[in-house]
């Protein structure tokens, strides 16, 4: 199935995420992180913590704010919908405490950015995963 899906990915790198698609949370191959629990990833993506459990810094990459993939990611990760997430980030961003992480609108660019930085963490549809990154959690 994955092999058959590859040509589609090459020509249709668009933000189509069906409920059945698996989302892979990825880190660099050089990272010491082998796996992460949903709560740990949730704390990282909500800026509650800025380090991995190993103590290394976590540099977060997010998808575009209104992307269906982002909505599916948080819904599966911690149950937050986009409205709750927007209100949450409004508290942090406009109080000056923490600014949201950089966003990347392209899954291949996300994968490449994560693979190039041993401290980065990101998420992409499973079919975009290749050998350049390591999967620490699957969200189904």
């Amino acid at each position: 199935m994955l092999t058959l899906a590859v040509p589609l990915i090459i020509f249709h790198d668009s933000e189509i995420i069906a409920d059945s698609n698996i989302i892979a949370v990825i880190v660099s191959k050089e990272s010491d992180i082998k796996q992460l629990a949903p709560r740990q990833i949730s704390d990282i993506y909500l800026a509650r913590r800025n380090t991995f459990p190993t103590g290394e810094p976590a540099e977060v990459l997010d998808q575009s704010w209104n992307a269906p993939l982002r909505e599916a990611f948080f819904k599966r990760l911690n149950g937050m919908n986009m409205k709750q997430l927007n209100a949450y980030w409004a508290r942090l961003r406009f109080s000056g405490n923490i600014q949201p992480p950089p966003t990347i609108a392209d899954n291949i660019k996300m994968r490449n950015a994560v693979s190039e930085n041993r401290y980065a963490i990101g998420y992409i549809p499973l079919e975009f995963v290749d050998k350049s990154v390591h999967v620490v959690l699957l969200l189904n």
Binding site: E59, N86, A90, R91, F94, S95, G96, Q99, P102
Partner: protein, 434 residues
């Protein structure tokens, strides 16, 4: 005085930003990965509230906070300026460890000018992942919501509980702060220390800028999943005197010194009134503890604070609130109870001043002190509807009880000072971000 303050702030901004750039400049040339030139560095965002309130009193008008001033106060019970505001923010990500943020907020306040409308203007420098320095204009970090009061979209209710936040004069400060972050397996801690100064404009016969110096704040926050607990302590002093009070102070000081040996008890009372009506040199200390819990279905928040001041003309006492909200899809009903209990009793004459012909002075001094007392309770019932991704409509009904000589959070017309009062106020608001 104002020009001197302005130059000091500018110096702090410039020195802080230059220091950040000097330290970070080598790092800026080595950027790669997530903070490289591949990604947009500048983001522009904003938030706002459009709101209208109506109350059932023709002789009382509410304030959201003590920095507000309304013209033609009693012409209508409808008020569209109480909660309406518009904020714009620019964020520039200079690199992995350096950010610049500027935020302006347009709202009803005593002085609507550039100086008072800039809420944030700082450089944030992170030499490592566990520490951050901010230089410039930052938010006041005491209490859970002190630095979030402007952002209606960020909280369920129409406005932060007035009994807890309405009297707080500080919004932003010019200086610096340091934040240490400690990540444990099940919890995250942050400790923040702030040192700054600011100017707070208020209106008393004319506009007066309160010069707040030596603002030192320490806060500690623990986050564990949906639960956040925060404790803070803050102190500052006032360095200038309010011109409107000077004639009263001079009269009291004269009484206190000239008749000290003849009428020592009157002299003592005059000295006490003089001290409690003095701005310059007054010291404040706020301490608080609070928690917030949000698991996606239930949202609860509560705080308790104690404000201590060296002059009774400033708000002091105990204040607190508790709020509960529950989400039903895009709908969130909520209830809040908040209260403030003034720390000093109602100021009343202790001695008969007629022998020195100063009864009117005594009356004026006591009335002035009592004008600023705050003693009230509010029960709020409300509903929030998130009708789209970045906007929410709120309806709130407040049932407010003020005690005699406790109307410090209200503009009043007529002789209401010596009676309890009740007010009903309804508000509809549209909160949004972009």
């Amino acid at each position: 005085m104002k020009n001197k303050i302005f130059l000091n702030k500018r110096s702090i901004y410039i020195l802080g930003i230059i220091a950040s750039l000097i330290v970070c400049k080598p790092g800026l040339t080595e950027e790669s990965g997530v903070y490289s030139d591949k990604f947009s560095r500048l983001t522009l965002n904003g938030f706002g509230t459009l709101a209208a309130s109506i109350d059932d009193r023709i002789d009382m008008m509410p304030q959201r906070n003590v920095s507000q001033l309304f013209y033609n106060q009693f012409e209508s019970n409808l008020n569209a300026e109480l909660d309406s505001r518009l904020g714009l923010q620019a964020h520039y990500r200079a690199g992995r460890n350096l950010d610049f943020v500027v935020q302006g907020v347009l709202r009803n306040q005593v002085s609507v000018d550039l100086e008072n409308s800039i809420e944030l203007g700082y450089a944030a420098f992170r030499p490592s992942h566990w520490v951050e320095f901010r230089f410039g204009r930052v938010g006041y970090d005491a209490f859970l919501m002190a630095d979030k009061r402007q952002i209606g979209y960020a909280y369920p209710w129409v406005r932060p509980p007035i009994e807890f936040y309405g009297w707080l004069p500080l919004y932003h400060m010019d200086g610096m702060d340091m934040t240490w972050r400690i990540d444990r397996e099940e919890s995250q801690w942050s400790i923040r220390l702030q040192g700054a100064q600011t100017v707070v404009p208020i209106y008393a016969d004319s506009t007066f800028d309160i010069d707040c110096r030596d603002i030192y704040t320490a806060s500690i926050t623990r986050q564990s999943g949906p639960l956040q607990i925060k404790g803070s302590i803050s102190s500052y002093r006032i360095s200038n005197e309010m011109p409107a009070l000077i004639p009263l102070q001079e009269g009291l000081n004269s009484i206190a010194t000239e008749i000290e040996t003849i009428f020592p008890s009157i002299s003592h009372e005059a000295e006490s009134l003089y001290h409690n009506l003095t701005f310059s040199g007054a010291e404040m200390c706020y301490s608080s503890i609070g928690f917030s819990y949000d698991d996606g279905k239930w949202f609860t928040q509560a705080e308790l604070a104690y404000a201590d001041t060296s002059s009774d003309i400033f708000t002091n006492g105990i204040m607190g609130y508790a709020a509960v909200a529950r989400r039903f899809g895009d709908w969130m009903p909520y209830v809040i109870y908040s209260a403030i209990i003034q720390g000093n009793d109602v100021s009343t004459p202790e001695e008969d001043w007629s022998p020195v012909g100063a009864s009117e002075l005594q009356t004026a001094a006591n009335e002035t002190l009592n004008i600023f007392r705050m003693e009230q309770r509010t029960l709020s019932l409300g509903l929030r509807w998130d009708f789209n991704l970045q906007s929410a409509i709120k309806l709130q009904w407040d049932i407010i009880r003020t005690d005699a000589f406790g109307h410090g959070l209200w503009f009043t017309r007529g002789d209401l000072k010596n009676q309890d009062n009740s007010i009903g106020m309804g508000t509809i608001s549209l909160d949004f971000m972009f």
